[in-house]
């Protein structure tokens, strides 16, 4: 993976030193909260409901065992022994105290990590396919481009005060695992007729209070044009974006109000001005970066032990069937470690679990770990003969849950258990749904199922693109949960449709159960997934299940 250059190192250290002094000045009263707030946000430090929260970037979701151990150390030393992996491939610490934050940032800098640009109206952590460099369906590893974008966007003088925050996602595969169509800029690698690599550039996607699927503004962008083109998009947005209204300030609104044709024209015009200014230094840099992402030296070893174990051990077989994905090397598998044990908080890993994952990545995983936007951890390169040992080790620390892609593999934002913006809780809804369907033993019968829960309209839990989306709201001083169905975050992206009136806190889990029982009744065959059934039949059978005869009459 990429290692910091001297420039990166001194930049991050300088920022730690600056922030250390800023914290001192806040604590001695030289800075007011109004003065300090933008400074702490620039360094990823929020004040939440019960405590401060530090959001640490995990660039494009790639992290080394050494870094993972440092996160465990921070969790033990400065927090309550755990960290929370987020839908933007970050990790959040929920309980740091202000005087400790400089030491935490210093500890992060020791392992080439930081919390810069994890908040504020700037280009945030660039996210990527968590199977990058390993997936069988991949055209090219997208991470060198993600790293190039990270370097370009970090402290970019023109883009530190954008109209609003700006999120870029990139995938190298046709099967979109990075939700690129719901980002300000989505980049999807494609090949042109001549067989050259390039990007489909999508602009103006986003969730939040006005969910929109991104428009394609370029079908094929040569890779060498990436930075000037992205800079052109940012530049047009920086000029046109609505600074008068926070709720209309994201680029999705700019694209919507300007129109796809006109904004494409403006981007191309700006691109024509910017392109000559990029003299090729970016491409030299890209070549250096590429070397850092060279594939590991894959092992060539017999697979007999794996096959025998798979046949003999039903627990292992169940885990292998749900948690493994196809690697581009036939002898290898991609392991998704479920950080979603039934009844546990989605995305929370204890320091012991972090250390175990780090150990396994070192022993069996070519020193590579990924954080997925679905709040799981990935071992991208495991030789199949090592899988029984990996599974056994994961089981020791409660990380062997066989539920990836199933109904208990839920995305949930922190919600009102932590977040100052939340309007309702998310986490207990997720844990109760997982527990309920485990008790019913229906999880495997239901099959592929993505439930995504947000505790407010800002949609950190991606509820709009959940097969079932749940949005927690405050309705007249009571928690109320609105359901959407048919959302999709992949290459066939779609925003889910609202079913109707919301449900109270103690009604939402039974409501989800009614949807699932309706699905099991109306699906054509077990092979027809929930999403396919919703697409075939629409919302009617599910409204009838949710709201009874009244809903059925509406449907008729």
């Amino acid at each position: 993976m990429y290692s910091y250059s001297d420039f990166d190192e001194s930049f991050v250290r300088a920022r730690v030193a600056q922030f250390t002094q800023q914290v001192e000045r806040r604590l001695d009263g030289s800075l007011t909260e109004e003065e300090f707030r933008p400074l702490r946000l620039m360094n990823g430090l929020y004040l939440q409901l019960h405590a401060y929260m530090l959001r640490v970037a995990i660039p494009y979701g790639t992290i080394s065992p050494h870094q993972m151990r440092q996160l465990a150390m921070i969790a033990d030393t400065y927090d309550k022994g755990y960290g929370h992996f987020t839908t933007r491939q970050n990790i959040q610490f929920n309980w740091p105290i202000l005087p400790d934050v400089p030491a935490i940032l210093s500890a992060l800098a020791d392992v080439e990590m930081h919390a810069i640009q994890t908040s504020g109206n700037c280009v945030r952590n660039v996210t990527a396919d968590h199977f990058a460099g390993a997936a069988a369906d991949e055209i090219e590893d997208p991470r060198p481009y993600a790293e190039l974008l990270r370097q370009w966007s970090t402290d970019h003088p023109e883009f530190q005060f954008l109209p609003r925050k700006f999120k870029i996602a990139i995938t190298g595969a046709p099967n979109d695992r990075a939700v690129t169509r719901a980002h300000d800029i989505g980049l999807r690698m494609v090949k042109n007729a001549a067989g050259e690599s390039g990007f489909e550039v999508m602009v103006g996607g986003g969730l939040g209070r006005t969910p929109m699927i991104a428009h394609t503004v370029r079908n094929f962008l040569p890779v060498a044009d990436l930075l000037p083109y992205v800079e052109a998009v940012l530049s047009v947005y920086n000029t046109l974006g609505r600074r008068d209204n926070k709720y209309k300030a994201r680029i999705k609104i700019t694209v919507h109000e300007t129109g796809k044709e006109e904004i494409s024209r403006m981007i191309e015009e700006r691109f024509a001005e910017l392109r000559p200014l990029f003299g090729g230094h970016d491409q030299e840099l890209l070549e250096d970066i590429r070397a850092a992402f060279a594939p590991p030296a894959f092992r060539n070893a017999p697979l007999g032990a794996y096959d025998a174990f798979y046949k003999a051990d039903p627990t292992f077989r169940s885990w292998a069937d749900t948690n493994l994905s196809q690697h581009r090397n036939d002898q290898y598998a991609i392991v998704t470690i479920s950080v979603k044990a039934h009844g546990q908080t989605p995305g929370d890993a204890s320091s012991d679990q972090m250390r175990m994952m780090a150990d396994l990545a070192e022993r069996y995983g070519h020193n590579d770990l990924r954080i997925s936007h679905e709040q799981n951890v990935i071992l991208p390169h495991v030789h199949k003969s090592d899988l029984p040992a990996v599974h056994a080790a994961l089981a020791q620390v409660g990380l062997a849950t066989a539920n990836v892609g199933l109904i208990s593999d839920i995305i949930a934002c922190p919600g009102m258990d932590y977040c100052a913006l939340a309007t309702a809780r998310s986490i207990p809804i997720a844990t109760q749904i997982a527990d309920r369907f485990e008790a019913l033993d229906l999880e495997h019968d239901i099959g592929p199922m993505k439930i995504k829960i947000s505790g407010c309209i800002n949609a950190c839990g991606h509820h709009h693109v959940g097969h079932i989306g749940i949005l927690g709201l405050d309705r007249a001083g009571v928690e109320n949960y609105q359901i959407t169905l048919g959302g999709d975050g992949t290459e066939t992206a779609a925003i889910g449709d609202k079913t109707g009136p919301g449900f109270a806190y103690d009604e939402i889990v039974p409501a989800v159960e009614r949807i699932m029982r309706a699905y099991l009744t109306v699906r054509e065959a077990p092979q027809e997934t929930f999403l396919q059934t919703v697409r075939r039949l629409g919302l009617d059978p599910f409204k009838a299940a949710l709201y009874g005869t009244e809903g059925a009459q509406d449907a008729a």
Binding site: T32, L47, H50, A51, L98, D348, D417, I427, V478
Partner: protein
């Protein structure tokens, strides 16, 4: 006729630790909601908020939260404020643990 004033407490987070605190009648910051001063007059509420806002070295983000009288002191009205008196529901962390210790 003007709307009746809903009683308030002044609440904030401690600057250093981030803990939720409440302004008491004798100008202390207490972690316990029921020790807060229950303010039943709008003008007095604004004065108390102003007083809280001046304590920049102790607290962050003071505001007035709706409250009601209870048997052992003021109680929160809204569920958000009720959560703030305890801590998260997924772990025994925050006040619910700290105050017991």
């Amino acid at each position: 006729m003007s709307r009746q004033f809903t009683p308030k407490v002044v609440t904030a987070n401690r600057l250093r630790e981030g803990d939720v605190v409440y302004l008491t009648a004798d100008d202390q910051w207490s972690p316990l909601h029921h020790q807060a001063e229950l303010i039943e007059d709008e003008a007095h509420a604004q004065l108390r908020l102003l007083h809280a806002s001046s304590q920049k070295l102790l607290i962050v983000g003071p505001y007035l939260a709706d409250a009601k009288a209870g048997p052992s002191g003021p109680e929160p009205v809204h569920f958000r404020e009720a959560f703030r008196t305890r801590g998260p529901s997924n772990y025994d962390h925050g006040k619910q643990a700290d105050l017991r210790a």
